[in-house]
């Protein structure tokens, strides 16, 4: 709409940096906001300006619309990019920006609202002729009693999903009616905690389903295109872990791709969509596909689409928000090569994927041809418990899926993070699985057919090498402890300290 020259980025972590970079490359000034936990975060340093907005918990900082709008006004930012998460899918925030005369870099409030309530969203797209998974569409605020009554009609297994939700939070799988009451309770509790809204709905569980999504771009004039699909079936507890583009299930079936893409465009148009968004589908093994939901924002996994189409999605978002037409037509969209993204999370794959926090003392990222890292941490950064566990997104591009897999393997082997546990070993195992390599997996693959321990069987292992390393480390530690105790007995001279400090700082 407006020709803004300064953008406030209402987010943190890797996505804030992604957006700041795009703005810099367009000559736009950037304004960062940060919580008390994030003064040392990279986005604070990479932006042109940075302002504190409150204590560490999101609700006191990154979710505070009032403070963020204040910073926008104070700094003269003409636009706000919400990233993903936090305020990205809050229609009231989009509206508040508009009311304040600030461009919201995302869809109109009405489109967010229509797609944000999953039940309304389903009703809307059904009216436009888009197929959906059977479930409780209509009202989103059914009581437990009503849900228990309707469940047998949908059939088991089914899913309980948070009406306001996303990212697997507040989601539960129900195999039989008996376990439903307790699962409803925990789903509502988690949804309430995550979104401030405990409403849930039911949805048939499509078995053997693949999660395939289409990237949408739409300008203010209603020109709407898709940038092909992303395969997101590799999930654990409904959290995406590894995505690829194209989908090996679609691969070179261009007709199938265009059919799904056309439906995705239709769904977006049903809510008069503008800016970047994503239509998620469930696809069964017979190539039936069902609308799942629309994410009315930039998606975590957008880089893989960028790598295979050559379209910079954030740059397009900024163009669209400035009222310009899309820079390409549907016919000009070509998927070339293959891209894979591994989400590198601070969590312990050997201990039930528990989140891991701490001081990152070393961060050596893989580089070289065909490797892209979108990261929000650096050596010296403290990973706090307040925000999500995503450390970085490791993205590779290859001419073929095979090349991309080999490239990702070497990149994972090169990646070194010290200070927190990461799920890198999990990705390494996945990439060695015959079923993964064959492209033969669904959304249940990780939970049902994969465990790190099983995966370890049948592989070449190096227990002797591990024994040597462990013994040498233990031996060194024992020697060093003895040495330190011995040294402590001597007086440490002032001058040694100073010269050590000087050496460190020269």
């Amino acid at each position: 709409m407006s020709n803004f020259s300064k953008v406030l980025v209402a987010n943190r972590g890797e996505i804030a940096i992604r957006i700041i970079r795009a703005c810099r490359e367009l000559g736009l000034h950037t304004v960062a906001v940060f919580s008390e936990a994030d003064r040392q975060a990279m986005h604070v340093r990479y932006a042109d300006e940075a302002y504190p907005i409150g204590p560490a918990p999101s609700k006191d900082s990154y979710l505070r619309m009032d403070k963020i709008l204040d910073v926008a006004k104070k700094s003269g930012a003409g636009a706000i990019h919400p990233g993903y998460g936090f305020l990205a899918e809050r229609s009231d925030f989009s509206q508040a920006c508009e009311d304040a005369g600030i461009t919201f870099i995302g869809p109109r409030a009405s489109a967010i609202a229509a797609m944000g309530d999953k039940a309304v969203a389903r009703a809307t797209v059904v009216a436009a002729g888009v197929p959906v998974v059977p479930g409780t569409e209509g009202e989103g605020s059914l009581s437990d009693e009503e849900l228990l009554r309707v469940a047998p009609q949908i059939g088991f297994p089914l899913l309980i999903k948070a009406t306001a939700g996303g990212g697997g939070k507040g989601m539960r799988e129900v195999k039989a009616i008996e376990e439903m009451p307790s699962l409803l309770e925990s789903a509502r509790r988690e949804a309430q905690a995550a979104f401030g809204d405990g409403n849930v709905y039911l949805e048939k569980l499509v078995e053997g389903a693949r999660h395939i999504e289409f990237q949408i771009l739409a300008d203010m004039e209603g020109n709407t295109i898709h940038l092909g699909e992303r395969e997101c079936s590799l999930q654990r507890r409904h959290q995406k872990l590894l995505e690829e583009a194209p989908s090996p299930f679609i691969d070179d079936n261009e007709d199938f791709r265009q059919r799904m893409g056309a439906v995705a465009v239709k769904a977006a148009k049903a809510v008069n969509y503008a800016n970047a968004g994503t239509i998620e589908f469930l696809v069964d093994k017979d190539k039936n596909f069902f609308f799942l939901e629309m994410n009315t924002r930039l998606q975590v996994e957008h880089p893989i689409t960028e790598e295979v189409t050559g379209v910079d999605i954030v740059t397009e978002q900024l163009r669209i928000a400035r009222g310009r037409q899309l820079s390409l037509t549907q016919e000009q969209v070509k998927m070339q090569g293959w891209a894979i993204e591994c989400r590198i999370n601070a969590e312990d794959p050997y201990n039930n994927f528990l989140p891991s926090t701490g001081f990152v003392s070393h961060h050596s990222v893989p580089t070289g041809p065909g490797v892209r890292v979108d990261s929000g941490v650096y050596a010296g950064f403290q990973i706090s418990p307040y925000y999500d566990s995503l450390i970085s997104k490791l993205v590779v591009r290859g001419d073929s899926r095979g090349q991309a897999i080999l490239r990702m393997r070497r990149a994972l082997e090169e990646y070194r993070i010290v200070g927190v546990k990461t799920n890198i070993p999990f990705h390494q195992r996945i990439l060695e699985q015959a079923r993964f390599i064959a492209g033969n997996f669904d959304t249940r693959f990780v939970e049902e057919r994969f465990s790190l321990e099983q995966a370890d069987e049948g592989r070449e292992t190096h227990p002797e090498i591990a024994a040597i390393v462990a013994t040498l480390v233990a031996n060194q530690q024992a020697e060093r402890s003895a040495h330190i105790i011995a040294r402590g007995k001597r007086d440490t001279s002032n001058w040694k300290w100073i010269s050590r400090w000087e050496r460190m700082h020269q």
Binding site: P355, T357, H362, L412, Q428, H462, I465, A467, I468, T471
Partner: protein
């Protein structure tokens, strides 16, 4: 120096013969061992084969070795069959009482058991929220819950003791 190192229940007799030589179960290897960047990352050349390992402290004085994406948990005992105390072990006793400590800082969502409750291995004891996820912390063994030190709504620090199972 001679050690008995156990990896995944298999024992290796590892003898450090001198700088650059190690024997494993009697087989002698030429070894070049270096830490990288002063970090717990190690470069190891064994008869010319180049290995890179990330070594962390595990529970009960073990070492966790990540090598080519695989985890090996190692227990190292010295030649007199006495367990080697490696620095920084996590404070869970091998037998007897188990103390559940917060694996990361977070907010207690729920304490799912009461003092004195009899629990089985795998039962959920505490739900802890951290990094926007609710994590169910389960009992590693059968036993009786004692000394509950946290309640719903509490913030806990990493490694803070929350309750014990005896």
């Amino acid at each position: 120096m001679k050690y008995i190192t156990t990896i995944d229940e298999k024992q290796y007799e590892v003898e450090i013969l001198g700088p650059g030589q190690v024997s494993v179960n009697g087989h002698v290897y030429e070894v070049d061992f270096q830490s990288v960047s002063g970090q717990p990352i190690y470069s190891l050349l064994v008869d010319g084969q180049s290995h890179q390992a990330h070594v962390d402290q595990g529970e009960e004085g073990t070492l966790q070795v990540i090598l080519r994406g695989a985890l090996y948990t190692a227990t190292i005992e010295d030649e007199r069959e006495k367990r080697l105390k490696v620095a920084g072990g996590v404070g869970t006793a091998a037998s007897g009482e188990f103390t559940m400590r917060a694996p990361m800082p977070g907010l207690i969502v729920k304490v799912a058991v009461e003092d004195g409750a009899v629990v089985k291995k795998g039962d959920v004891l505490i739900i802890l929220e951290s990094m926007k996820m609710q994590n169910e912390l389960k009992s590693p063994r059968d036993g009786k819950v004692v000394r509950i030190q946290v309640k719903a709504g509490d913030s806990v620090e990493q490694r803070q003791a929350m309750l014990s199972v005896e």
